[in-house]
């Protein structure tokens, strides 16, 4: 499958799944999906581990730090929010 078709298909899957997310969870959806966009971390790791150019390595290192903030912070804060949405005992 070409990268293009993959991209388009993923967009459609995203739309189908996410349009059913209730308004109540829109903020966790945003912070959670934002954490997923930190997947750039994979690319950053590759660049940071390169032995070729010194430049590339340090740019990659900076990318790695930012992507990791995004990933760790994003998932943790989403977890914190969702913790609050636990079913409360109804009176």
């Amino acid at each position: 499958m070409t990268p293009y078709s993959l991209f388009i298909l993923a967009m459609f899957i995203g739309r189908e799944i996410l349009s059913k997310v209730p308004q109540t969870l829109h903020t966790p959806l945003m912070s959670g999906s934002n954490a997923i966009s930190g997947i750039t971390i994979v690319g950053a790791l590759v660049s940071a581990g390169m032995v070729g150019g010194v430049w590339a390595k340090w740019i990659g290192f900076a990318a790695l730090i930012f992507a990791t903030i995004n990933v760790v912070g994003g998932f943790m804060v989403t977890g914190r929010m969702l913790q609050m949405f636990k079913k409360k005992p109804t009176e």
Partner: protein, 464 residues
């Protein structure tokens, strides 16, 4: 590690992201969904660490530790009321990371091949830098606006549209230039700088009322930046995840626009609403005036009501009054009053802002109602208690064709028997539009800080 296995595991990560996001369809399964997505990310990171020829593991581990520490501290320390600016900041970090990865890919290629290579990977490194940088600088401005470190008013400058179009043209030109033999590194740096400024220019004119749209839009961009980086690296998991996040952000952007009856381009043109400090008049030209009330009068109204609907808005977030509001609802319920919450989709500064705040105060999510679910219930409501909301209940949206908010779906609080507004002053809402509902005979205004007012209400209701 064989590349087939690596790709298989990447695909597995992507599937975990999809399943994780699907679980967000209900508050009951959402926490597990978040954990699944985090697990997917962990797998992707571990696979990358093992599949690469790790020659300098110190940088990798060091980067992961530093970033992880900063992220964890930010996530644990943030107040729920500060969530919009944190989400904006994280968006920015994601965009910057994508742009940097693209730079790390293209710069060595250029240096090794005397500025002649880099064309093999096509236009994607440039797209990645463009979208990543716009996301980054746009998010920085959004962060500054949302956290109150700079004015929430639209910052407008003459000839804005012309400037934006020129910038866009220059950005495209710098990409085209590389393909017709320009110095690649130079073009690349010019493009990065132009994109950085462009991001600032598009968010500066956005007024407070449109903030939820722009936060959602930056969310979409951060995903698209990751996807563009995926095209650069021909990495499936990046493409799939980036597309998912892009779809999510676009969906939210669209939902917010629909909820405000505004087209996306109208938002981008900017200039709508701000933190006006100007006091509105307490009197209309035709002589109608507002009726202000006191906490004890309001407490009596509430105690003798059968049904009360609470309408929260941004003012509640500013005053951090969510816990007091929950307590007031508890006290009323203990006296047999039916209490519900009506949440407008654009109440607050980001999608779902009010829901998060009220959840923090332990309001059960099944007593929060969306606009369409609850709007018919105002007819049978004795008191609509509007706390720090304004535009989302302004009837001008229904009939005043000259109003900037005309056509925006609103909560029908004016159908309730009586309406009480908790407000700090007479200033208009974020849209800057005056609210005629203040002057209706069945409307009462309770001025003061939302937290103080609600605390007084609790005491008075207990005393009734």
């Amino acid at each position: 590690m064989p590349s087939g296995l690596v790709n298989g595991l990447y695909l597995f990560s992507a599937i975990l992201f999809i399943v994780g996001l699907k679980r967000l369809q209900s508050p009951v399964t959402a926490r597990r969904g978040n954990r699944l997505a985090a697990l997917g990310m962990l797998i992707a990171v571990i696979v990358t660490l093992f599949s690469q020829e790790i020659l300098t593991p110190i940088e990798m581990i060091g980067g992961l530790l530093i970033g992880g520490f900063i992220g964890a501290v930010l996530a644990m320390r943030v107040q729920m009321t500060a969530m919009p600016e944190l989400v904006a900041a994280f968006n920015g970090f994601g965009g910057l990371a994508s742009a940097l990865v693209a730079a790390a890919e293209i710069i060595p290629m250029v240096l090794e091949h005397d500025g002649a290579a880099g064309i093999d990977s096509g236009v994607f490194p440039y797209l990645s830098v463009l979208v990543g940088m716009v996301t980054f600088s746009g998010s920085v401005i959004a962060f500054l606006k949302l956290s109150g470190k700079m004015t929430g008013n639209p910052v407008e400058f003459p000839g804005r549209y012309v400037v934006l179009v020129i910038f866009l043209a220059l950005m495209i030109a710098s990409i085209v230039w590389t393909f017709i033999g320009g110095e690649i590194l130079l073009c690349f740096l010019i493009l990065a700088a132009l994109s950085l400024i462009f991001g600032i220019l598009i968010v500066l004119p956005i007024g407070g009322a449109d903030m939820p749209v722009i936060v959602a839009f930056l969310n979409a961009l951060s995903g698209l930046a990751a996807a563009a980086t995926g095209f650069v690296l021909s990495n499936t998991v990046l493409i799939i995840s980036g597309a998912l996040v892009g779809a999510s952000g676009i969906m939210l952007t669209n939902t917010m626009c629909v909820a405000m009856n505004r087209k996306f381009w109208q938002v981008m043109v900017g200039g709508f609403g701000g933190d006006s400090d100007e006091d509105g008049a307490g009197k209309l030209a035709d002589g109608r005036t507002i009726t202000s009330t006191t906490p004890d009068d309001t407490a009596i109204m509430l105690s003798y009501a059968r049904k009360v609907i609470i309408v929260p808005g941004y003012g509640l977030a500013v005053a951090q009054a969510q816990h007091q509001v929950r307590e007031l609802a508890d006290v009323l319920q203990a006296q047999g009053v039916e209490v519900k919450y009506a949440v407008h989709p654009v109440a607050g500064r980001m999608p779902g802002h009010m829901n998060v705040l009220l959840a923090e105060a332990n309001v059960p999510y099944d007593s929060l109602f969306e606009m369409d679910e609850i709007n018919h219930e105002f007819e049978s409501t004795d008191v609509a208690l509007v706390i720090g909301a304004n535009d989302v209940v302004n009837p001008a949206a229904r009939h005043d064709k000259s109003s900037p908010i005309y056509g925006m779906p609103i909560l029908n609080v004016d159908h309730a028997e009586s309406v009480v507004f908790l407000k700090r002053s007479m200033r208009p809402g974020y849209s800057g539009v005056p609210n005629l509902l203040f002057f209706e005979p069945n409307t009462r205004m309770l001025f003061g800080d939302a937290k103080d007012s609600v605390t007084e209400l609790i005491n008075e209701v207990k005393a009734v």
